[in-house]
């Protein structure tokens, strides 16, 4: 009898912990969507902000985040895929490769604000790119690198060696094999990792704080060397720094909805790709 009660108690603790974790997500989504969705109109998404950000839409912030993510992609994806290819296809387990792997693991653990400082020192100041869309995109690219390398390497590892051997036996060079056989075959796996990484990058705020994001940019901007608006920073400013915080609360909720929806959309797409890829193989 005693052990039966104990058993039940432990079961309750385990289920309770898991339920609590789910509850956290529930509270976050419920609060943001129940209060934010009513404010989502076409005007909110496709209009410029007006009257000192107390009215109007968030189009420049959406546009800025999309452009920023595009720059991050253009920089981090070729670089990351090339590095993963080196590690998986060329590198032998030497001291140097171990150092490279250790660097990548540690880069993944560097706090994002430190990437912000590095971007400020390297891109904004040393390379003289100023606080700009380009500086911020490159900074986010550096932050994304370790994740893209790791996920790409995982995708490359899943390709059987027999395929490599068969291809090389046809008299093709190693580079041609990688370009024409290995990378196309690994593409869905690589894409999954890339999209998940980008959704994380799109929601990052700390690395872009000093490298180019601004609360308001006249006319919406869009050139590489000008400052830009971004959804996560917009949410931060609306919820903490605005002169009339209570007045703009509905706008903050709306921005949060758009940001979370964007991130979840990217994630869902990535999981769909992964699911399709796994069921195919």
């Amino acid at each position: 009898m005693k052990s039966k009660i104990g058993t039940f108690f432990i079961w309750v603790v385990l289920v309770g912990s898991t339920a609590l974790v789910c509850l956290f997500l529930g509270v976050i989504l419920w609060d943001i969507f129940s209060k934010g969705l009513p404010g989502i109109t076409l005007d909110f998404i496709f209009k410029l902000p007006t009257k000192g950000m107390t009215q109007g839409g968030i189009l420049p912030a959406i546009f800025g985040t999309l452009l920023l993510t595009l720059i991050t992609t253009l920089f981090a994806v070729p670089f990351g895929v090339a590095c993963a290819t080196y590690l998986n296809e060329y590198a032998r387990p030497t001291l140097i490769t171990n150092v490279i792997r250790a660097s990548i693991r540690n880069l993944a653990g560097v706090p994002s604000i430190i990437y912000g400082l590095f971007g400020l020192a390297l891109f904004v100041q040393a390379l003289n790119l100023g606080t700009s869309l380009l500086s911020a995109g490159l900074t986010l690219g550096l932050l994304s690198l370790p994740y893209i390398i790791t996920t790409t390497e995982e995708a490359l590892k899943r390709i059987p060696n027999s395929l490599r051997e068969a291809t090389l036996a046809l008299g093709i060079t190693q580079f041609e094999m990688i370009k024409d056989v290995i990378l196309p075959k690994a593409l869905p796996g690589i894409m999954t990792g890339v999209i998940l990484t980008l959704s994380r990058a799109a929601g990052e705020t700390a690395p872009i704080l000093f490298t180019g994001v601004a609360f308001f940019v006249n006319g919406g901007a869009g050139s590489l060397n000008s400052e830009f608006m971004a959804l996560p920073y917009h949410l931060y400013m609306l919820s903490t720094q605005h002169a009339s915080i209570e007045l703009v609360r509905p706008l903050a909720y709306g921005t949060a909805v758009v940001l979370i929806a964007l991130v979840f959309l990217l994630n869902t797409f990535a999981y769909f790709l992964r699911y399709k890829y796994r069921t195919q193989n």
Binding site: T18, R105, G109, A206, T240
Partner: protein, 292 residues
């Protein structure tokens, strides 16, 4: 294309790929030397003794890192007190109890929780957790260390759960079977056999979650009130290293002592994260060896 041309192209790309590998080392080294170089400028002016003593961070005059460090530790400690038991128990539930269907629902929930941007979690700290805490404890506002701890726990949980679950799954079935054969029930087996056997992996999970909580900026910046005084408890407003950098770097003129001081506290944060990563990696290696 001629064979010679193809072979040359092959060689060129071999070096291009190899070059990107070396660039990752250069990147980590670059971050390291950028921090060291800028911190050196600061320590030339202020000195290590002043940095590690006193209890005021008051730029232009007093540069004591201690209140920021204590704040960072306090918030992170609180988050781990919440996230470690919750995370490991949830991982145990997922791997030992949950049915296949339950897992198919729970895993995406945990992945969604991991995907919520930190700034949205900080926002929840302002609109939900803050007012809640101020009601419960009768405070003027709920922006304090406890608020930050709760939010950081939420952010660290997906990492801790996912890696812990892998660690528990990696414990060979024979361990469990042997335990059952000796007459132990399901829970005795879980707490006395499976979890202890998974310990290196659980520690690695906690270290990675800890690293994430320690380096997080936006949530603590938004939810902890940012008073730069020595905190006395979880209900005090705190200002972590990361928030200090975020708040002050935007306003400070370049190349001043104040500017360099922010790199100095960043260097300290970098070193702490590095140590935690190494510890996590060490335990992850032990897990791999144990199961090899």
């Amino acid at each position: 294309m001629k064979t010679k041309g193809r072979e040359n192209l092959d060689l060129v790309f071999k070096f291009v790929f190899k070059g990107t590998g070396f660039l990752t080392i250069a990147l980590l080294a670059g971050i390291f030397f950028m921090l060291i170089f800028n911190s050196a400028n600061f320590f030339n002016n202020v000195g290590l003794a002043a940095f590690f003593s006193g209890n005021h961070w008051d730029p232009e005059s007093k540069y004591s890192v201690l209140p920021l460090l204590v704040s960072t530790f306090l918030v992170t400690l609180g988050s781990m007190l919440i996230a470690i038991p919750l995370g490991i128990l949830s991982a145990a539930f997922l791997s030992e109890v949950a049915s296949k269907n339950a897992k198919a629902i729970l895993k995406p929930i945990i992945e969604m929780l991991a995907a919520v941007p930190s700034v949205a979690i900080g926002f929840i700290g302002i609109v939900v957790v803050g007012p809640g805490l101020s009601n419960i404890f009768g405070l003027q506002n709920g922006l304090n260390a406890l608020n930050g701890s709760i939010l950081l726990a939420v952010m660290a949980l997906p990492t801790i759960i996912t890696i812990s679950e892998d660690a528990i799954n990696a414990v060979p079935l024979t361990h469990r079977e042997a335990s059952f054969a000796l007459g132990a029930n399901k829970w005795e087996t879980l707490f006395k056999i499976t979890l202890p056997a998974a310990m290196p992996g659980l520690i690695a999970a906690v270290m990675l979650g800890l690293g994430r909580a320690l380096g997080e900026t936006m949530t603590v910046l938004m939810a902890t009130g940012n008073a730069s005084v020595m905190p006395k408890g979880f209900l005090d407003s705190v200002r972590t290293i990361t928030s200090t950098i975020a708040i002050e770097m935007g306003e400070v003129p370049y190349q001043t002592t104040h500017y360099f001081s922010l790199f100095a506290i960043a260097a300290l944060l970098f070193l702490i994260s590095l140590i935690i990563n190494f510890l996590g990696e060490y335990f992850a290696q032990r897990l791999r060896k144990f199961h090899a």
